[in-house]
Symmetry: C2
DNA sequence: TTGTGTTATGTAAGCAGTTACATTTTTGCA
DNA sequence: TGCAAAAATGTAACTGCTTACATAACACAA
């Protein structure tokens, strides 16, 4: 069933049918109704490929994300997909893993599928070495690229992010104010977002006059799901003679690792060990006591990112970078 | 840059360029290399829409899932996406929520985008009332439909699932054998999979000669992420005079709710309350003690589902239904 | 009734590929 | 060296839609 069949049955030309299809107002109401009736009657659906060829778009957005099974990223995808759908766009999901080569080839695939825009979910897509960001800049030469929780200063690349530096700074100060001056920053990535958190931590420690050797940091290199391995790392670290009575974790997974560590060492939370996580995902209520975590307004970020993209596609001006501030949600792992 | 430009620069016809593009072997090695070189040189990428129009496929699969932020579904999507990619297919992700109307419209959208197949992730797409499954049957008239953890007996619909009945039966028997005869089945959905688990539970209780009034079931209707609400429901249930010393939870989220309940009631796990979850997702190691859970081999299921789909698309015969058995992974919430 | 300005409709040329069929070139063997 | 079969290449029709431009229909004032 093609536009030709419909035009024949309706006794009009294909141009008229096409006009009805595209909601052009240069069609008389009578003709329009007739055509619509015929379409309905025969269950006609326009061929998306032909349409794409003519309009040079199929209204799809490419979403890239390292690992869609990470709770935080999964949630982001969920929010973004929903907004896109409401705006009449589909999304092609591409889970790339953390390997640059795979990211590049996925990016190329999306471009070759002629998506209207690309969204990079998570800060791990941006590398320190600018050469390694070339694939993003190249992509941005074709379609707008939106970054969630990362920044890249390049044309046609837009960033929406939470102010990780400020919120980690605040969390650290709060913990210090509660009487803990040997705080450990526990993190698992050297991404843009990871670094900003670390900077916030360092700045807060410095501003509270903690000597550098008391502001410890510990890096976890395993899978984000491997809570036992996180706990083990902390145990080893402690056994090596490092003391700390507070942990600022770069995400909630790591914070759960810290809780497990405390359980295994027989430490009481928050008295022996206070913990603050990041992301405020559902994990916070899985543990006992419940986890204090920084809510970085993911839904807000995602909605903003998506509507910015819509604006860009509609030719409106949009700021290159928008930052939202987070909020500490206090629960049982921190002192009053 | 089109196939015409390339053909001109390479001094061959467009047909030859097209043949090179499609890996036809009716091209001399010399010509092929020349064309490839020119393509490389000019950074040519074929237009996906034109290609789609000619070939009537763009090698994309539609994935529908109610909520991609559910850990289990997110994991499934992750596995499926990876396999599809390895087979040269992209996937369009559609998060439908639990509302039938949305499912139907999403399905139509995918069909109109001319996907080569549709994968329904999760058993909530199948309804008891066959009329409500019409949207699936209609879709299957166009493209193969693959179900994960659900069954629908209709042409061109294929199922890959875990044997939930058997594994829940086994889990219940194990718990009974460990000395608990007042077991509560705690569940949150009336889906195909939910019902099969319930059947397994009932059958096991019956086979162990537990009177029906000792085989209790409790339904939770809230969000899958709302652990506190699950705990509260259990507290209320207990306060209403119901006793139980074991819980078989239909998923790990519910099991965490049960753990929280135990914590709040001051019950010790597993002595006062034993718990078995389903899905064996990463949540099992978030809690203390760690959760005994039924591993239903999600990765295996996803791989099988995807490769079946590939077989179908390649014209190979494939069984309509494949079932895999699960395995209980014993951890701290059950007695030795 | 005619002329003019709208509004509605039709014609045909794209869009960028694929592929059946025709034609040319190459290969291998008598 | 000639010839048939096989391999390589080219021509042109086709995929199904959009849209610029041409044309027809209509409304309304002079």
């Amino acid at each position: 069933m093609t536009i030709y069949d419909i035009s024949e049955k309706a006794g009009v030309s294909i141009a008229t049918v096409s006009r009805v299809l595209n909601g052009s107002n240069n069609v008389s109401e009578k003709t329009k109704q007739k055509v619509l009736r015929i379409m309905e009657e025969y269950g006609y659906t326009p061929n998306a490929f032909a349409r794409g060829l003519g309009l040079n778009t199929m209204k799809t957005i490419g979403i890239m994300c390292a690992d869609s099974s990470d709770l935080y990223l999964a949630k982001a995808i969920y929010f973004i997909e929903r907004e896109l759908r409401l705006n009449g766009y589909d999304c092609i999901l591409s889970c790339t893993g953390y390997d640059l080569a795979t990211k590049i080839s996925s990016m190329n695939l999306l471009i070759s599928k002629k998506v209207d825009g690309i969204i990079l979910v998570g800060s791990n897509f941006i590398y320190e070495d600018m050469d390694e960001n070339k694939y993003i800049i190249d992509a941005a030469a074709q379609v707008p690229v939106m970054l969630l929780n990362a920044v890249l200063d390049a044309p046609n690349v837009y960033s929406t992010l939470s102010d990780d530096l400020a919120s980690t700074y605040e969390a650290t100060c709060q913990m210090y104010a509660s009487g803990i001056d040997d705080i450990l920053f526990f993190y698992n990535s050297h991404t843009y977002s990871g670094k900003r958190k670390m900077s916030g931590f360092s700045a807060a420690m410095k501003d509270n006059n903690i000597p550098a050797d008391r502001a410890r940091t510990l890096y976890f290199s395993g899978s984000h799901e491997d809570i036992p391995a996180m706990a083990k790392l902390l145990i080893d670290y402690h056994m090596a003679g490092n003391t700390f009575h507070g942990i600022i974790a770069a995400d909630d997974y790591l914070a759960l690792g810290a809780i497990k560590y405390a359980k295994e060492m027989g430490l009481s939370i928050p008295d022996d060990l206070a913990i603050i996580g990041h992301n405020n995902c559902m994990l916070v209520s899985c543990c006992h006591p419940e986890l204090t975590s920084i809510d970085n307004k993911l839904e807000l970020l995602c909605n903003h990112l998506t509507s910015s993209l819509m604006d860009i596609l509609n030719g409106k001006e949009t700021p290159e970078k928008t930052m939202f501030s987070g909020e500490i949600i206090n629960r049982g792992t921190t002192r009053n």
